[in-house]
């Protein structure tokens, strides 16, 4: 029997009946909507996107993913008096806050003590959101990086189940917590710690790893208190105590939308300059677009012109030029801002900017 003969026998034994597709009565569409109504999980590391990565993704959505989660309102700042932003020079100083910046930092950090790598050579290169239940910190040492992502504990089972599609879990212990190792490839692994104090942590490799080096580094991952964690952050990381000062610098050449409230820049966690810049520039852009939409529907031509001019001015904002070497968020802002200024509000602008 030839291979062709044999294959034909196998083909004839195919149990699938294609006519079934005509008889689904919309069940396929129903399933699609069911699936899309479930929450997505972070599968792309939330960090400043490097150009190479962004080029592979839909730019706008990727940019939103880079800053997702940093616009959440925090109870820490909402307890502060309302500060209405009065323009680039009207920003309240840090000294007017009820407690000092350093105390703010500590208060924010104490909620969720964090993990560090207790081995020389590792430097935090990207951080955001450590005071929230969601957050991320990435360490680098030579050609290896290790990202630690925090999630609320109620999401643990979802993530765990999802990772079962990656590989079989292998049980280990990290920072005195039971953990599961998942293997993406021989150079790419993750370790998911069981939840504790309301969150769980997932560590994910990047760069030149082997299983042996990964196992070895896991023995150096330690849980630290707030002071140690803050001390380990590089000085350029924006922590809560720095927010007003750093925001004021960014907003110096950025036109302020009507009623812009600096408290929406609430930033109880820690962010690297890219993430913080995206938070500030994104917030301002979102507000100007909302103002353009309002003015357009109200027939307020003067306000439409003003909003369009403000959006076009984004090409001159220093913060975006400073960020431009590191990721594509600025290009997304410019693309959306130009479209809106030309009278076309992209449906996806909120996703694109993280509004």
């Amino acid at each position: 029997m030839t291979d062709e003969h044999l294959d034909r026998l196998v083909r004839d034994a195919d149990p699938y009946r294609p006519e079934i597709i005509q008889r689904l009565g919309g069940a396929d569409q129903h399933l699609l909507e069911e699936i899309m109504s479930t929450p997505k999980l972070d599968s792309v590391p939330a960090r400043p996107l490097r150009r190479t990565l962004v080029r592979q993704l839909a730019g706008a959505t990727a940019a939103a993913a880079a800053v997702a989660g940093i616009f959440a309102t925090s109870s820490l700042w909402s307890a502060q008096p309302d500060d209405v932003y009065a323009g680039p020079t009207g920003l309240p100083s840090v000294g007017t806050a009820a407690i000092s910046g350093r105390e703010l930092d500590l208060k924010a950090a104490q909620e969720h003590p964090r993990l560090l790598i207790d081995e020389p050579g590792w430097k935090a290169i990207s951080v955001y959101g450590f005071a929230e239940e969601n957050g991320s910190i990435e360490f680098q040492n030579g050609d290896r990086s290790l990202q630690m992502n925090w999630y609320p504990d109620e999401q643990y089972q979802h993530y765990y189940d999802d990772r079962l599609h990656v590989s079989k879990p292998e049980v280990t212990t990290v920072a005195n917590r039971p953990a599961s190792i998942f293997t993406y490839s021989k150079n790419d692994m993750s370790a998911m710690l069981e939840p504790q104090d309301g969150t769980f942590v997932e560590l994910r490799t990047g760069g030149n790893w082997t299983r042996a080096t990964f196992d070895e580094i896991l023995t150096h991952v330690i849980k630290v208190d707030a002071k140690s964690f803050l001390k380990a952050l590089p000085p350029e990381i924006v922590t809560p105590g720095d927010v007003r000062e750093e925001a004021a610098k960014i907003l110096a050449d950025v036109p302020s939308p009507p009623g812009f409230d600096v408290s929406v820049l609430d930033n109880a966690g820690a962010n690297d300059p890219y993430q913080f810049g995206a938070a500030v520039a994104g917030r301002v852009t979102c507000d100007w677009i909302a103002e353009w939409i309002r003015a357009d529907s109200a027939g307020d031509h003067q306000a439409v012109k003003q909003a369009a001019a403000a959006l076009r001015s984004s090409h001159q904002w220093k913060v975006l030029h400073d960020m431009n070497d590191e990721g594509d968020y600025p290009e997304v802002v410019w693309e959306i801002a130009d479209k809106v200024a030309d009278g076309d509000v992209p449906k996806w602008y909120k996703d694109g900017l993280g509004c």
């Binding site: 004839d12 699938y16 079934i20 008889r23 689904l24 396929d28």
Partner: protein, 184 residues
């Protein structure tokens, strides 16, 4: 294209292929709904980093293969999605007269006796219409190993069904189900 639009596009372009893939590999027709639902759920959760259009179907087959492995292991559904599809598949799955043909039953029984990976290589090639190198990607073996497995699967199957020149004759032709074009 937003990631939502991309996902809809991927779903529309691959739903039937995945339904066929799952239907061919489950005992009960409605179990295919679980496999399809869970496979696309994984794709949805990863929609930000789905492979390009010309790679995505192989990737989905790979996911479905792992979903099936878990399905067989646990025998329980983890998600309650796809209930309507499940009911629908149960309702429309009337017995196929062709399934009772002894030769088909014999081939199916023989296929079940192959090594899992060898069988999957053969089925991906014949039922899903993949090139051997594509099937190799789905099952995660090298192209060289894939050729070996494919050749071994055919040799073993030939032994099992008997080297019968009773080649597919008119009966099978009449009852055979057209193989859907997989577009690859």
């Amino acid at each position: 294209m937003s990631s939502e639009d991309r996902f809809r596009h991927v779903y529309a372009g691959n739903f039937e292929a995945l339904l066929a893939y799952a239907s061919r590999r489950v005992e009960q027709p409605d179990d295919a709904a679980d496999v399809v639902a869970e496979t696309f759920l994984v794709a949805w959760r990863r929609s930000a980093d789905l492979p390009s259009d010309d790679e995505v179907r192989l990737w989905l087959y790979g996911v479905a293969r792992r979903v099936l492995a878990n399905h067989h292991r646990s025998g329980i559904r983890r998600e309650r999605l796809g209930e309507r599809l499940r009911q629908c598949l149960t309702a429309v799955s009337t017995p196929d007269p062709g399934s009772e043909v002894p030769q088909r039953l014999a081939v199916q029984a023989a296929l079940r006796r192959l090594n899992d990976t060898d069988r999957e290589m053969l089925l991906l090639t014949v039922w899903e219409g993949l090139q051997p190198r594509e099937a190799a990607e789905v099952v995660g073996v090298s192209p060289t190993a894939a050729r070996t497995r494919l050749s071994r699967a055919r040799a073993r199957l030939r032994e099992l069904v008997g080297d019968d020149p009773h080649a597919p004759g008119h009966v099978l032709d009449v009852l055979a189900v057209p193989v859907p074009k997989e577009g690859r």
